[in-house]
C-alpha cells in the first residue's frame, strides 16, 4: 500500500501549521523618513519642548567642540565626535524617564551627558582613566560599549528582567549603522521580539562606519526594514530633526512601557567630523558631501522653526550660548588636571575577592611602588 492509499484520498491543502503570525504591513517603515521641522506638523510642536531641545543641542555641539579640543591638548586619549548628530543624542536622553536605562555605544557620551551625567565622568574612559567613570546603576546608564553591538543584548536582558520583576522600566539601546551588521544586533533584536521586551533600538545611520559608506554595509531599502524580519515595527526618522526624533522615540518608549514590545528606529543623520580626532576623513569622502549636510544641520533646523514662530530672539540665542560656554569652561578646567589613579586598583575589582594569585601580584606591585617611592 502506498502512503496515499493508507490515508485515503484527499485534496491537498496548505501546510497545516501555516497561519501568518503577525501582519507585516504595520511593521514596515514609511517610504520617507518622518519629519516635523519644515512641515506643517511643526506648528503643533510644543514651544517648551522646542526651547528645551534647542538649548540642549547648542550645549551638545559645544560639548563636542570642547571634547575635540581636549584631544589636541592631550587631555583626552581619543574622542569620537557627534557633531551633526546632536539631535539623536539629545532626543535619546530626553525620551527616557528617570527609571529607564540608556545603553550607549562608544560614541554616545553626549547622550549620557544630556541625561545628566557629569561630562567629566562621561569622558573618563576616553581620558585614559578608568574604564567607566560612573556607577551605571546610579545613573541607569550602562558603560559605554566599545565592542560594537554587544550592548544590544544587554539592553534586552535588562528590559526583560525589569518586566519579570514587575517594574515598568524601558531600555533604550543605541548603535551605529555599521553595528547593525554584527551578529549581536540580530540576536538582540530577535530575543527582544520573542520576549516582547520593553526595549527601543535607536540606529544612528550617520552614513559611515569609520571609512565604510552605508552602501558597502547593507543593500537594504533602509535599516528600519530589518524590523519586520523580527516581528517588530521599524521606524524611519530624519535624525537631524530633533522634534521628529524625540516624538518617534517617545512613542516607542511609551509603547514598550505599555507592554507593546520593542521598536527599531533608524535615524538618518550624518557624522560631520571625522570618525575620531585620529581619523582623516578626507581619505574617504568629499568635502562637498559634508557641505550638503551642513545645510541640514539639526541646530539650524530648530533655529529656523523657533525663529519663524517667534520663540527665539537674540537674547534667547545668547542665553543658550552662554550656558553652553559655561559648561565648556567648567569641563575644560576640570579636565585640565591629571587624574590620580591608584595602581593598586588594578587588582581590586577583577573578582569580588582577589584570588591568591592576584594577591601575590598585588604584593609584587606594592613592593615595586614602595621601592620607587624610596628611590625618589
Amino acid at each position: 500500500m502506498t502512503v496515499m492509499e493508507q490515508r485515503g484520498a484527499y485534496r491537498p491543502s496548505p501546510p497545516p501549521a501555516w497561519q501568518p503570525r503577525t501582519d507585516p504591513a504595520p511593521l514596515l517603515p514609511d517610504a520617507e523618513p518622518y519629519r516635523v521641522l519644515g512641515t506643517d506638523a511643526a506648528a503643533k510642536a510644543d514651544p517648551g519642548l522646542l526651547r528645551r531641545l534647542y538649548a540642549e543641542l547648542v550645549r551638545g555641539r559645544r560639548y563636542n567642540a570642547q571634547a575635540t579640543a581636549l584631544t589636541k591638548q592631550g587631555r583626552l586619549a581619543v574622542y569620537p565626535s557627534t557633531t551633526g548628530q546632536e539631535a539623536c543624542e539629545i532626543a535619546a536622553a530626553l525620551a527616557l524617564q528617570e527609571r529607564d536605562w540608556l545603553f550607549p555605544s562608544y560614541r554616545d557620551t553626549l547622550a549620557a551627558v544630556a541625561r545628566g551625567l557629569d561630562p567629566v565622568q562621561a569622558l573618563t574612559l576616553l581620558r585614559g582613566d578608568w574604564h567607566t567613570g560612573y556607577d551605571p546603576r546610579e545613573h541607569r546608564i550602562a558603560p559605554l560599549s566599545t565592542p560594537l553591538a554587544t550592548q544590544l543584548p544587554h539592553a534586552v536582558g535588562l528590559a526583560h528582567a525589569a518586566r519579570i520583576k514587575g517594574d515598568d522600566v524601558v531600555a533604550l539601546a543605541m548603535v551605529g549603522d555599521g553595528g547593525t551588521s554584527e551578529g549581536d544586533f540580530h540576536e538582540a533584536l530577535n530575543f527582544a521580539a520573542v520576549w516582547q521586551a520593553p526595549v527601543v533600538f535607536l540606529v544612528q545611520n550617520n552614513g559611515f562606519a569609520i571609512s565604510v559608506p552605508l552602501a558597502k554595509q547593507t543593500a537594504a531599502p533602509s535599516l528600519a526594514h530589518k524590523a519586520v524580519g523580527y516581528g517588530m515595527p521599524g521606524r524611519l526618522v530624519d535624525g537631524n530633526d530633533a522634534v521628529a526624533v524625540h516624538e518617534v522615540l517617545t512613542d516607542a518608549v511609551s509603547r514598550a512601557r505599555a507592554g507593546g514590545g520593542p521598536t527599531l528606529i533608524e535615524a538618518i543623520t550624518y557624522r560631520i567630523d571625522a570618525h575620531t580626532n585620529a581619523d582623516d576623513a578626507t581619505r574617504y569622502r568629499a568635502d562637498a558631501e559634508v557641505e550638503t549636510w551642513r545645510d541640514h544641520d539639526p541646530i539650524a533646523l530648530l533655529e529656523h522653526e523657533l525663529t519663524e514662530r517667534g520663540l527665539l530672539d537674540e537674547a534667547g540665542k545668547q542665553a543658550a550660548k552662554d550656558a553652553a560656554e559655561a559648561m565648556a569652561a567648567d569641563l575644560r578646567e576640570r579636565m585640565n588636571a591629571d587624574p590620580v589613579l591608584d595602581p593598586m586598583d588594578l587588582f581590586a575589582h577583577v573578582y569580588a575577592e582577589p584570588t591568591p594569585q592576584l594577591r601575590e601580584q598585588q604584593a609584587q606591585l606594592r613592593a615595586e611602588l614602595d621601592a620607587e617611592g624610596d628611590m625618589r
Binding site: P136, L158, Q357
Partner: protein
C-alpha cells in the same frame, strides 16, 4: 542512629537538585538556554525546573549563544542571577566575545559597581562517542581569561556543592560539567541536606607517597584507577583533584608535591597551550628543590578532537599515566 540505605544518585541528578535548591532559595536565580525548559535539556539536567518554577524562571531561549549570554548580562545588571546552559562545549564559542569582552570584565570596568553573578554551565570533554564539536575540552580558553572563575566537579557530591557555590558567587563562573561523568554515581544521598563547597580548594582524593597526580574533572576517576594499578608497580600515588582551575589552589597542590617530590599533570585537553603547562610551570616555580624529576604532563594530543571510533587513542588512559610515572627518574632513588 539508624543508617538508611542510600539509593545512589548520578552527577546529573545532583546538578538538577543544585539548580532546584538554588531556585527555591533565591527568586533571582534564572535558568536559560537552548531546550532547558520543556525538554529539560539534552542531558536532562534542567528536568522539571520549568514546570516547578515557571517558564520565566527556566526559559527556552532562541538558538543563539551570544544572545543567551548577552541577555544574561543584562539580566544580571538588573539584579538577577542567571544560570546559562551552553548545550555543548563547542557551542559556547559563538558567545566568546560576550564572555571575554563583557562577562569577565564588567566588574572591573565599573570598579566593582556592576558585578555579574552569572553561572555558565558547559558540558565538556569527550569519551561519550560524540560526533565532531561535541567533545571539546575548552578550559584553556577560560583559564586564560582574567575575571572568570573556572570550576569543574569530579564527584556527585562536588557537582552539587560546587554548582551551589557557583550560583551563589557574585562573580561569573564557568562551570564545566564532565559529560562522561553525568551518569556516574556514588553514595551521595539526594534527599539529605547537602553542603556547598567553597570554590578554590583542591582536594586530595587519594593519599600516596611516591608521586602526585594533579588532575580534575573527567580525568579524576582515570587517575584513581591508575593509582590503583600503580600499586602493582610498587608506586603509591597521591591524586589531587583541583576542582577549581581559577582560582588555583597552589597550597594544596604544592604541599602534596613537596611531600612526594614527583608529579604528573593529567587532563584530556590538548597538551600544547593547555592547562597542564600552567600547572607544571607554577608547581616547578614553587617546588623546584623538592623535585626529583620534571613535572610531566599526560594530555590529549594536539589535534582536533577525534571521531568516536578513534577517541580512545586520544584520551589519556591508565597506561599513559603509568608510563609517565615510570619516566619520573626513579633510578636516582636507588
Amino acid at each position: 542512629m539508624t543508617t538508611v540505605a542510600v539509593k545512589p544518585a548520578t552527577m546529573a541528578q545532583a546538578l538538577t537538585r543544585a539548580l532546584r535548591d538554588a531556585m527555591a532559595d533565591d527568586p533571582s536565580v534564572h535558568v536559560m538556554g537552548e531546550d532547558v525548559g520543556t525538554l529539560g535539556g539534552v542531558f536532562r539536567v534542567t528536568d522539571g525546573l520549568a514546570k516547578e518554577f515557571g517558564e520565566d524562571r527556566c526559559t527556552d531561549t532562541p538558538l543563539a549563544e551570544a544572545g543567551i549570554l548577552g541577555t544574561a548580562v543584562g539580566m544580571a545588571m538588573y539584579g538577577l542571577r542567571p544560570v546559562v546552559e551552553m548545550q555543548f562545549d563547542a557551542f559556547a564559542y559563538p558567545a566568546f566575545e560576550q564572555l571575554i569582552s563583557h562577562v569577565s570584565r564588567m566588574r572591573n570596568r565599573t570598579r566593582g559597581a556592576m558585578p555579574l553573578p552569572i553561572t555558565i554551565r558547559v558540558p565538556y570533554g569527550g569519551g561519550i562517542g560524540g560526533v565532531e564539536h561535541h567533545s571539546d575540552s575548552s578550559e584553556a580558553y577560560y583559564m586564560a581569561t582574567p575575571g572568570l572563575h573556572v570550576v569543574t566537579p569530579a564527584t556527585v557530591a562536588d557537582a552539587y556543592g560546587l554548582l551551589r557555590a557557583a550560583i551563589a558567587s557574585d562573580d561569573p563562573v564557568v562551570f564545566l560539567e564532565p559529560k562522561r561523568l553525568y551518569w556516574s554515581k556514588d553514595n551521595w544521598n539526594p534527599d539529605a541536606p547537602a553542603s556547598v563547597e567553597p570554590i578554590g580548594r583542591a582536594v586530595v582524593r587519594r593519599p600516596g607517597r611516591s608521586a602526585t597526580l594533579i588532575t580534575y574533572g573527567p580525568s579524576v576517576p582515570v587517575c584513581l584507577e591508575a593509582a590503583e594499578a600503580a600499586r602493582e608497580e610498587g608506586w603509591d600515588l597521591e591524586v589531587v583533584d583541583l576542582r577549581s582551575l581559577v582560582p588555583f589552589d597552589d597550597e594544596t597542590v604544592c604541599a602534596s608535591v613537596r611531600r612526594t617530590g614527583r608529579a604528573v599533570v593529567v587532563h584530556e585537553s590538548g597538551g600544547f597551550g593547555g592547562p597542564g603547562g600552567e600547572i607544571a610551570a607554577r608547581v616547578t616555580e614553587r617546588c623546584f628543590h623538592y623535585l626529583e624529576a620534571p613535572v610531566l604532563r599526560v594530555a590529549g594530543f594536539d589535534i582536533p578532537y577525534p571521531p568516536p571510533m578513534l577517541e580512545r587513542h586520544h584520551l589519556p588512559g591508565v597506561d599513559r599515566i603509568l608510563d609517565a610515572v615510570g619516566r619520573l627518574q626513579w633510578e636516582a632513588e636507588s
